[in-house]
Amino acid sequence: MSSAPGTGSETSRLVAEFCAERFSASRAADFAVNCDAFTAMVAAVVNRWNSAPTVPELTQFIGSLRLEELVLTRACAAGNNTAWDRFLTGYRTVLFTAAYKIAHDESTARELADSLYAELYGVSESGQQRASKLLYYSGRGSLEGWLRTVVAQEYVNRYRKTRRETSLDEAVEQGQQFPSKPVSTDPPADRRIDEAIAAEIKALDPEDRFLLASYYLDGRKLAEIARLLRVHESTISRKLERATASLRKRIRKRLIDSGMSSRQADELMQEIDVRDVQLPIEKTMRQESEDPTFYKRSEP
């Protein structure tokens, strides 16, 4: 197979040339994968990513693929013993280490890792054709990182709800008291306030919204966010300050534009402070669904 369905002849030609050039570097021959099969692997990945890429896009995309790791996963999925030996040697520890670091509990981590390992191996539930989860690795980013992300997703799917419930119980056991819902004596809120807040949060720049949500809602540390975005903590701090100030200013402006007096708007704005936003337990609990968030909808 030397062409990728639906990607066009030009794309197929570029992929074929690229694969011919990189075949030896991919070490596909170690797993008895020939150049045509290798080309088909890459073409499938390209097709799944973008069915009609431009030439520069395609060149950049295939140039960034982790071919050796892609071949390894495909060979594992095909049941190649050499590939499995190599996978176990190189990545089994990664899997368990990631599970332990995420779960912070040995038994949970082992359960998580064992379960995932079975999925990676592709144990068929109904005795039908074996389907390894490794087939979902596309070579974008490292295999090690992909394994960590899969572990994290599985953890969120399985344990998030339990963990949060437990946390609440533990908090109660520790004597923490939660305030009862305050009885508001204020007059009913103006509908314009809702609209202003909703509109301005919706209009937030994605990065600003990500920062606000990560920091104020998720309670992430500046260092965590900075590491993810590959910038310095002080940069995140500055951006958060700027985003918060900008949000307040724009909400106030929208309130005034909607007919509210400046004084009224200022009084309201004094009471709005996104820095006081805490993780609302009730809301979070309500968002929990029985269905796992990932895999069933995100995987091809």
Partner: protein, 389 residues
């Protein structure tokens, strides 16, 4: 009311999670910053509204065994200096303080000519000192001279008391030696010719290998008349660092430090100033062997934000930064890396840009793997192919 507002904010920030989520490989590629810029923005937009995916990326990141940041390796020589200079400076300061401590004297370092002027000013008060001075300066050892002073001038106050008087006197006082930075430099230049170094010293100390000798002046202050083996510029530095007479002269010291030639820095007391400086790279931009672009910020290397790719070369002039690499990737930032613009080369569809160099904000050249060379004279807005030999 406040709670009500906060609930509204939360409600809007916590929109229901989207039905579709990026696949794990895309999230991982986002964490590892290998996504194309457009796709990266899409993932970021999703993360902004999806609590679950945010949790996944942060969990995945926390599970990484080592930080993805590359710790910059400082050259060995710089690392040695970074430790040696502070240690040497601290030792020098500590030894100076230790030596000066018993007499509680201000360390006053003057060029010989200013010292002579000071002595002349004191002449009416202390006539007895005039006669033995020439001999003392060149021949007599310090201790005998010091012992002889009270005998020759019984009305003279002791050096320690005189020293105290000097410190207490205002800037414009008659006995205050008023030196501007320029005067300090001028006197330093004329110092070797104006007066020979006095051999008699009652205490010595060494800073960075340059022995500094001080002898008590007639007024009780200690002056460094000679710096053995030191050049003129070294003397300027020493004076600027050590003159501590009044607050007014402190300001002049600052000016003298500023005016002192850079070449004098490694000598004399200016080692303390060097200690405060952290070794910084020659250029705040670099490309790692894996193609990552890094920026030196706040004393550490950080991966450049808002740009990804396999880069091979980078050039920076002021706030203008150009980075280039594989697949003809060529980006220009006009704001020191805050934002990047993609630039293209005419007539080329494939290849790598191996080297880029800008000599000014407008003029630069680059070379590609195919051997082609391009130049620009408008800061990279347009590139013209140039003939290579």
């Amino acid at each position: 009311m406040s709670n009500e507002f906060q609930n509204r904010l939360r409600k809007n920030l916590e929109q229901p999670a989207p039905a579709e989520h990026p696949a794990p490989d895309v999230l991982n590629a986002y964490i590892e910053k290998v996504l194309p810029q457009s796709e990266e923005q899409q993932v970021l937009a999703h993360l902004a509204v999806c609590t679950d995916c945010r949790e996944v990326v942060f969990l995945s990141q926390s599970a990484a065994e080592e930080p993805t940041e590359v710790v910059p390796l400082q050259p060995r020589r710089i690392a040695w200096w970074a430790w040696a200079l502070p240690v040497a400076a601290v030792l020098a300061v500590a030894s100076t303080v230790f030596v000066m401590q018993p007499n509680h004297r201000a360390i006053t370092t003057f060029a010989p000519q200013q010292l002579a002027e000071a002595k002349r000013d004191e002449a009416p008060q202390n006539e007895a000192l005039k006669a033995p001075k020439p001999q003392n300066k060149t021949v007599a050892p310090a201790e005998p001279r010091r012992a002889a002073v009270p005998a020759a001038a019984p009305q003279l106050v002791s050096p320690r008391e005189k020293d105290k008087q000097l410190r207490d006197q205002p800037v414009t006082g008659r006995n205050t030696i008023d030196l501007s930075a320029k005067e300090l430099q001028r006197e330093a230049k004329t110092a070797p010719a104006a007066a020979a170094p006095a051999p008699q010293m009652d205490r010595k100390t060494t800073v960075n290998g340059a022995p500094i000798a001080g002898k008590p002046s007639d007024s009780g202050a200690i002056s460094a008349d000679a710096i053995s083996g030191a050049s003129v510029s070294q003397q300027v530095t020493v004076q600027a660092e050590t003159v501590q007479v009044t607050p007014a002269t402190n300001e002049r010291q600052q000016a003298a430090r500023t005016n002192a030639p850079a070449s004098s820095a490694p000598y004399g007391y200016s080692a303390g100033a060097m200690m405060a400086k952290k070794a910084a790279p020659l250029t705040p931009w670099r490309v790692l062997s894996d193609g990552t672009l890094q920026h030196y910020l706040l004393g550490r290397w950080e991966n450049a934000a808002g740009i990804s790719g396999a880069f091979l070369t980078v050039s920076a002039v002021g706030d203008d930064v150009w980075v280039a690499g594989k697949n003809l990737a060529l980006y220009h930032s006009r704001d020191n890396g805050a934002s990047w613009e993609r630039e293209t080369l005419p007539g080329l569809n494939s290849g790598d840009i191996l080297h880029i160099e800008f000599t000014s904000a407008l003029n630069g050249v680059l070379k590609t793997s195919s051997g082609a060379a391009f130049s620009t004279h408008d800061g990279g807005k347009s590139w013209v192919a140039v003939q290579t030999p």
